[in-house]
Amino acid sequence: MTETTETVLPDARVEGERLWLSPVELERATGWSSRPEGLCRGSICVPIPPGREREFLRGDQIDAAALWRHLGQPLVHSADGGAWVLGTAAADRVAALRSLEAPDFSLPDRTGRRHSLSEHRGKKVLLVSWASW
């Protein structure tokens, strides 16, 4: 699971704190891909530190957990390694909130129909939390 998606990864290999993914699965789950210049998402590339290639790469597999730690982003996995959550760093969240651009989201109503904030562009929106408790 990442911030926005939940992806089933049949080819993933979990070894302790390592999460080895094929390039296809890495990209599908996280949007990151392996390129000659390093690990990239969109126009952002992070070079693999020289001499530490083995921490990140094994054959054509990439350790997504090593990448996430290298990016300074929080991650956690279940005791059996079957479920991983790759999160977003506080610094990124703070920067997004300070930009004052309202982060978009897509969530279901009770019928399962999804709504996004961006559908309401052009209106003033009161975005309010509530709960049954």
């Binding site: 978009d104 109503d109 009161l126």
Partner: protein, 221 residues
Amino acid sequence: MWQALYEELKDHGFVVIAVALDSREGDPLPWIEAATPSYPCLIDRDHRLAELYHMVNVPQAVWIDERGTIVRPTEPAGAYEGFRRMDRVTREVPADAARITAEAKATYLNAIRDWVRLGQASDHALDAERARARAPQPTEEVARAHVFFKLGQHLIRHGQPEEGDRWLSEASRLHPDSWAIWRQRAPVTELGLAAQPDFWARVDALGERRYYAPVDMKGMP
């Protein structure tokens, strides 16, 4: 509370989006049906909205203008903690506390009306500098808490409630300001959670600190 406001203002380019920070299966449904809202009423089991906007309780709100710009960052939405003075046996709130609570709500709703009418010319719509100064600043612990919360919810939904609950507990420990996270683990009764001794113990532990952060708005308590 929001339905009447929405009906009043919807023809003036205004919409309410309510997001339920409920994560127990089925939790918010009877409430949605009882309220029959005609604005979007969404369900956020993983607290994605809480993470994106740093919401820690309900009701909290963000004002977003026509261009998608935040003009009031996350803050309590017309709520005041008069309930803290409730008689815990009779559940009665002293008249003066109830009056302050009602005034806080009225002040907040009037501020929304003012914003809808005047847009950025409203005193309540903050310019970029003031809005930025009020932007929440989640810490690394909060970021980790949301990751733990999401894992916990996933495990609970997939037949591993014990481990899931441990992650929720860890999330609450890392993000103690979040009532929304804590509430997902609190015991439920027919009276509603506010009747629970655990809840009162947690409220009492606040001491002089506020349950709802003060809202910087003229006329708010």
